[in-house]
Symmetry: C2
Subunit: 84 residues, 2 copies
């Protein structure tokens, strides 16, 4: 996976999760330093309709536009950010 | 919420997420330092069947046994742990 490519695609994520994945909004999870495998699984669950509660209404449409490669790159990017 | 009470109830969580919430298993998310509001929303989504993919098969039965107070305490506990 390519964290730099992930950063380039992370603009829309930054609105809620913060540019470096350290969300300042309690309802939105911090992504910085999270395991990439988990981030990928979560994004795919949103994309594939396996998460319907909570933030799914926001996340599902976002995730639908992402390819597996996009998801791997985004996961690599946010994992590479320091958790604050 | 009571982080100490959360710690007392976190034994079963520690198996996958680590005693301090810094999971060493890529598939299981790190909980340490995560926003409590997000942790609560995620646990309730598992409890209420709104998450079915990925780790839901493990998490749903765990979450079903938890009251709202348990969930708030667990979220407070893991939030209080330093992310590593």
């Amino acid at each position: 996976a390519d964290a730099a490519a992930g950063k380039a695609k992370s603009g829309v994520c930054a609105a809620c999760h913060g540019v470096d994945g350290n969300s300042m909004v309690p309802m939105y999870p911090k992504l910085a330093g999270q395991h990439p495998a988990y981030l990928e699984a979560a994004l795919k669950a949103y994309r594939d309709g396996q998460r319907t509660g909570g933030n799914a209404a926001i996340m599902a449409p976002m995730a639908k536009t992402l390819s597996d490669a996009d998801i791997a790159d985004l996961a690599a990017y946010f994992n590479s950010q320091a958790h604050k």
